[in-house]
């Protein structure tokens, strides 16, 4: 319970810092703090494997990608307009939306009677963390991922491949292809000339 409140404060503070930061680099630092606290929250929820991939994929891959793009775009120039944000334009709709959302949330949480079932179809909650049969262990996760949820897993492979192709098409440099094509034409012309020379002799 204490861990939940401490982590909740860290999560909320880093989320607000991420959104209100003046520079994108500060946002990345806040997001890193947010993801670390979220990984700790996953640990308190018996999801060890999720905590690990949260650190590896989010903090290790996605945030580094953000940092690379920031370093690439803001080298020497100011890439983004630093004008005032859109807060004045949308203040009244935003206040109305927040009030509606808070009211709805209060209503839902007041009605919520989430009775956690005693049965544990996904594995036994007791036992040392990480061993097979214990809820949230890597063994149970992998078994479920490669048997019951094999089709969604294969779909993510397709999605990642399409994303990689799309990124290469969008942001990839096209000069190497042109250079290769030009070089191939040069080679072909040289071969043709060589053949003609040989035939002329």
């Amino acid at each position: 319970m204490i861990a939940f409140w401490v982590l909740a404060v860290i999560l909320l503070a880093s989320a607000i810092w991420c959104v209100t930061a003046s520079k994108p680099v500060y946002s990345v630092v806040a997001l890193l703090l947010h993801f670390a606290a979220l990984a700790a929250t996953y640990l308190t929820l018996n999801a060890e494997f999720l905590a690990v991939i949260q650190i590896i994929v989010y903090s290790g891959a996605i945030l580094i990608l953000f940092l690379f793009v920031i370093a690439l775009l803001s080298s020497g120039v100011a890439p983004f307009s630093v004008g005032p944000n859109r807060l004045p334009k949308i203040a009244y709709p935003a206040i109305a939306l927040v009030l509606i959302a808070v009211g709805f949330l209060t209503w839902v949480l007041g009605r919520a009677s989430v009775a956690a079932p005693a049965a544990s179809p996904g594995g036994s909650p007791v036992g040392p963390a990480g061993t097979a049969g214990v809820f949230g262990s890597v063994s149970d996760f992998g078994t479920a991922l490669f048997t019951t949820y094999l089709l969604p897993f294969e779909m993510t492979a397709l999605i990642l491949m399409v994303a990689v192709i799309g990124v290469v098409l969008l942001a990839g440099d096209q000069t190497p292809y042109i250079a290769t094509k030009k070089r191939a034409e040069d080679v072909r012309r040289e071969m043709r000339e060589a053949i003609l020379r040989e035939g002329g002799q």
């Binding site: 890439p79 983004f80 949480l109 544990s120 149970d140 991922l145 990689v164 990124v167």
Partner: protein, 104 residues
Amino acid sequence: MNPMTVPVANYIALSAVIFFIGVAGVVVRRNPLIMLMSIELMFNAANLLFAAFARAWWHNAGHIFVFLVITVAAAEAAIGLAIVVTVFRSAKNVDVDDVALMKG
């Protein structure tokens, strides 16, 4: 420390607040990179809810869902950043309000 003493309603409230912080970031900020990071915040709020309900029901389908969401979020971040880089190549000063090519 026992997490079962934390009711699911607390996780719902925390996740909703983080989600709305992310929504505010997307709506208010002009910097496309910070908008993308706010989208990541929203993904993570949903992931937290999945993990909390998986814990409440002792069922690891929620964990699988979080795994798939993280995969799709990685693809989304890569494509979004590629679009930002491409737009920045053509226009030297990026204002997301000026990028309205698809507007009818």
